[in-house]
Symmetry: C2
């Protein structure tokens, strides 16, 4: 009997009624407080993938981190609210009991799935010219946080500052990244990878201020064929901030496979202190 | 007695119960089929602005266009699902009666509001160097669609193709834009302006294929002070697609005020045929 991949253990869900699943946080994907936001996004996507009424494949996912998820069990609701001929709209919610034992909302999400058809297509955001992954060194990642240990990360530019001297001048990050150990790419793992970047404000300022993602949106440009062609290969992940203002910054990011196909474009808005 | 601005007429809502408002589509903002998606986004934002329990100002808005809104009346629900010390998470839904008279979901949305505090801030996406609005000609807009008549639009680059010859090579659009007649900028009007671009695929291909926005996310980087400073002035609006693949393309866009301050970053995923 093979031990499941830690990612599959982390996103495991048990049916618990109509449109309802039970899950639990995984220490393997723990962050400084609670779980890595990407694994929570992946779990929401997994509920859509498991749902017997799903139509087509994911086109978009928006997750709103309403409160810190506590370590332990949670309830995930995933409900198709509108099914058209070729598109379907989903609402999702994660709850945990509050101090009185009543379910309290810790995450809301929406997703769209669709039956894709082959059309005229073009990539207008070319993969940046960077050295191949076997020419880039594995990052030295802080061992006191669990989730980054679950990824191979090879920074081309924008690695975590070695000196927190407040002298940053750019937020651009480019890295090769993949699940560690290797795992064939799917929609839940792409959802997690969309959130794989350490906070842009840390790099821009060379200052590790407290942060927390408030909302993330992921657009999927890959279908089953492109995922299969990517397999467990490296992805080039690029992220930068466009504006940092009065407690919130945005991040715009892209994920290409090693062949240069743009698989995901994604954005988030992040709280920062000071 | 002054006639209200067409925008205020279009987003007008009447309280209709707890967390519930009644509204109606406005012919002044009509699109080829149903209303302009931007005015629907603005109406959702207006419900949040009107809600007596609102905490702070908008940080993000995601609207999912689940079905074509029919011309006429609709019901809008806006509910704060989690209120923290300085942030608040909202779920919104627009319904219209289906053929059996039952409420059917035509739009879902989520929003985050927050009390902003002054912090270290920087704009990392500078406004492109373009001629000022008084040096750019007003666009000649198709008179058979209502909503574009509600905006002043002065194209710097990427105006609607004059020849649909299938020979496009870029999706980049830059234009000066404002409400017409002038109206002081607020969060609902910024929400509409986030969707003010004609479809990127029309420009990229120089081919007017059928399209429809599936999901749009708007991040607000302006607070009340920045909105007041902008007033009814021109905004520089920039949009481009990153990838067009098998029936869906993305759009990434920015809105700056004339002084060069980045007010909004926004993204959408759009269905296209062929």
């Amino acid at each position: 009997m093979t031990t499941p991949h830690p990612f599959d253990q982390a996103i495991a869900l048990t049916p618990a009624g109509p449109h309802t699943y039970s899950g639990a946080t995984s220490p393997a994907y723990g962050n400084m407080v609670g779980p890595f936001g990407g694994i929570t996004a992946a779990t929401a996507m997994q509920a859509v993938m498991l749902h017997p009424q799903r139509l087509g494949e994911p086109i978009s996912l928006t997750v709103n981190y309403a409160a810190a998820l506590a370590d332990g069990a949670f309830t995930l609701m995933a409900r198709p609210v509108r099914t058209n001929r070729s598109t379907q709209h989903w609402l999702l919610e994660i709850t945990q009991p509050d101090a009185q034992g009543e379910p309290a909302t810790v995450l809301t999400a929406s997703a769209v799935t669709a039956v894709r058809r082959e059309t005229w297509s073009v990539d207008d955001e070319p993969m940046p010219a960077v050295p191949p992954p076997d020419r880039v060194a594995q990052a030295n990642i802080a061992p006191h946080v669990a989730w980054p240990q679950r990824y191979g990360m090879r920074f081309v530019t924008g690695s975590i500052p070695e000196r927190w001297d407040g002298q940053g001048d750019t937020s651009l990050l480019q890295m090769w990244v993949r699940d560690e150990p290797g795992r064939a790419l799917d929609f839940p793992s792409l959802s997690a990878l969309a959130d794989v970047f350490y906070p842009r404000v840390w790099l821009r300022r060379a200052k590790p201020v407290p942060t927390g993602t408030v909302s993330m949106t992921v657009y999927f440009h890959a279908g089953a064929a492109e995922l299969a062609a990517t397999g467990s290969g490296w992805l080039l992940a690029q992220a930068r901030g466009q504006v940092f203002r009065n407690g919130f910054f945005d991040q715009t990011a892209q994920l290409w496979n090693e062949a240069g196909l743009l698989l995901v474009t994604t954005h988030q808005i992040v709280y920062y202190k000071e």
